[in-house]
């Protein structure tokens, strides 16, 4: 698996918000054994250049940082935050969020495509947080995105994969684009289910950060994602209605 030419080992991407402490965050990142963490740049701390201590702790984790534009409600805000993130973290990567609704935090897909175009033209490598809509996915790829991050469910809900059909068709339509389920994951089984659909990776935050034991939960997700991926590659059997005996049934002449 690679994102914009960078080969990656772990298929779990962790968010860094909402943890009880930076120390627990660091332990969770180690337990998850992940290669990428996402970091939100609140505009004010970015503007004042005073979030440096926390960002320093993030950089010290020794993993690749994918800054995000969480909480941005307009194209302009998202673009400005992305520019700030490039400066702070020295990476062209940006997880692009343009929020369309304050209650559901669902993506404003029109603003998302517009911002993706602007940022791609400026040399950013954009990871768009989007819905599972095929048409939007097409536009995002046209805008220059080489990775797509459809939601499983609204951010922080823990509902899991709300629209499995849409996620499956997205996978079928874009077999060669890295696809990451981003948002809505609550339990390790949700992440495993995403991987069994053939998704390349899973990005989550609240499910680990707000767990009773974030470090243990990070480890549980890492194993679920590994299991889901291995299961996908191993070729699951097709579901069927009638029982299929795994040993011959003797003394039964009829198949009716």
């Amino acid at each position: 698996m690679d994102f914009y030419g960078v080969a990656l080992r772990s298929r779990l991407l962790l968010g860094t918000a909402l943890y009880p402490s930076p120390a627990i965050l660091a332990d969770a990142v180690r337990a998850a054994d992940c290669d990428i963490v996402t970091v939100s740049l609140r505009r004010e701390s970015g503007r004042l250049r005073e979030g440096q201590d926390f960002w320093g702790l993030i950089r010290d984790l020794g993993v690749r940082v994918l800054p995000n534009t969480a909480g941005c409600h307009s194209v302009k805000e998202a673009v400005t935050t992305a520019q700030m993130a490039r400066e702070v973290f020295g990476t062209p990567w940006i997880k692009l969020e343009v929020i369309g609704d304050a209650d559901t935090l669902q993506p404003d897909v029109f603003g998302l495509v517009e911002a993706a175009k602007i940022l791609s033209a400026e040399g950013f490598e954009v990871f768009p947080y989007t819905t599972a809509d095929l048409g939007v996915a097409d536009r995002l790829l046209e805008a220059g995105c080489r990775v797509l991050m459809p939601w499983g469910a609204p951010i922080g809900t823990g509902l899991g994969l709300n629209d499995v059909y849409a996620l499956r068709s997205l996978r079928a339509r874009f077999p060669d684009v890295p696809l990451v389920v981003d948002a809505g994951i609550g339990k390790p089984s949700h992440a495993a289910a995403a991987m069994e659909l053939g998704y390349d990776a899973v990005l989550l935050n609240t499910a680990v950060a707000k767990a009773g034991d974030p470090v243990a939960m990070a480890g549980a997700f890492a194993r679920a994602i590994e299991a889901g991926r291995a299961g996908y590659l191993a070729g699951p059997i097709e579901p069927r209605d009638m029982a299929a005996p795994s040993t011959p049934v003797l003394g039964r002449a009829s198949l009716a």
């Binding site: 402490s21 930076p22 005073e50 926390f54």
Partner: protein, 333 residues
């Protein structure tokens, strides 16, 4: 033994009382012109809520925090032992279940029981959590009362003095500067918090109420004269700039969601300050030579300062031997 304490915030004042109680001759050097002026404890909520804090803090916070419940009433007047109420808007009901799963020593109460505790909240919430053993105080009155108490037991306080711990006089020095010690404490970081003081006579509360919210842990603490403290944001930033519009909107929205009467309240004050925190968000007592320090009280200044003050006072009075990290020692977790 002569001990110089640097900083007259909640850490310095509690430590002064503990040291004086052990027979030390204590002088506090405070950079501000008066109590609270330059202390982040001035912006605190003043909740003595060890069990509620378990929602996001480690077990040791609840353990050490329980000491605050008897320490404060023994040293000052004005501690209100009425417990804490935790509620959630209907759409965020799952937050209440989550809070309950992470905490202990509470009762689930229904709307009627809540109306019994807080008549002005009657009919507003179907259920909530009641932490009956917790308490609260007004941090500004508490700091003033504590300073007065300290002076009664022989502590002197000098204001308007910027002191360097290494150069300060005394047999021992206790550095209680909080975030101002950032320069010599590389793993200390600032966590910005913003709060509002609202005034309304239209509603009365007898205890702190926490309104669970997926983004910010919002609480409203009643104070005298119709004042309510609404707090607090948690932003990974050491910026002391004024309260932002976004934060003010979030805090006011929360208060309004608790009770519409807050919509008509007067905004008396909006304040932002920076909490000193270590990476584990737990406080530490450390020592380097004759300089001891209490720092990293994070959002638990009033809750954990009694326990830290005791530990620091013990360490100073016994001048405990250093035995690790060359001459730098972390004495507590």
């Amino acid at each position: 033994m002569r001990v110089t304490i640097i900083g007259a915030g909640v850490a310095g004042l509690t430590a002064a009382i503990e040291l004086a109680g052990r027979g030390a001759k204590v002088e506090i050097l405070e950079r501000g012109a008066e109590i609270g002026e330059r202390a982040c404890s001035w912006a605190a909520g003043g909740m003595l809520a060890p069990w509620c804090e378990r929602e996001s803090a480690e077990p040791v916070v609840a353990e050490l925090g329980q000491q605050a419940l008897d320490w404060w009433p023994r040293h000052i007047d004005g501690v209100t032992p009425n417990g804490t109420l935790v509620v959630a808007p209907r759409r965020d009901a799952a937050e209440l279940t989550r809070f309950a799963a992470r905490t202990e020593r509470f009762d689930w109460i229904d709307g009627d029981a809540m109306a019994g505790l807080e008549p002005d909240l009657a009919g507003r919430f179907d259920r909530g959590l009641f932490f009956r053993e917790e308490a609260h105080l007004d941090p500004r009155r508490a700091l003033a009362a504590l300073a007065a108490r300290a002076m009664e037991v022989g502590v002197t306080i000098r204001f308007g003095v910027e002191a360097d711990p290494e150069a300060a006089p005394g047999d021992a020095v206790l550095d209680c500067r909080g975030f101002a010690a950032r320069g010599e404490t590389p793993d200390l970081r600032g966590v910005r918090g913003e709060m509002l003081l609202l005034r309304t006579q239209e509603i009365t509360l007898s205890r702190p109420v926490r309104l669970l919210h997926p983004r910010i842990p919002l609480y409203i603490v009643p104070r005298a004269d119709g004042l309510f403290m609404v707090g607090a944001t948690m932003i990974e930033s050491a910026a002391r700039g004024r309260v932002t519009a976004r934060s003010a909107v979030e805090l006011i929205n929360g208060a309004y969601a608790l009770h519409p009467a807050f919509g008509e309240a007067e905004i008396v004050e909006a304040r932002a300050d920076v909490r000193p925190a270590f990476p584990d968000n737990l406080p530490r007592v450390t020592r380097r030579g004759r300089v001891f320090s209490i720092n990293g009280l994070y959002r638990h200044g009033f809750l954990l300062s009694p326990a830290m003050a005791r530990q620091a006072a013990e360490a100073v009075m016994t001048q405990s031997e250093t035995h690790d990290e060359a001459d730098r020692e972390r004495l507590t977790a």
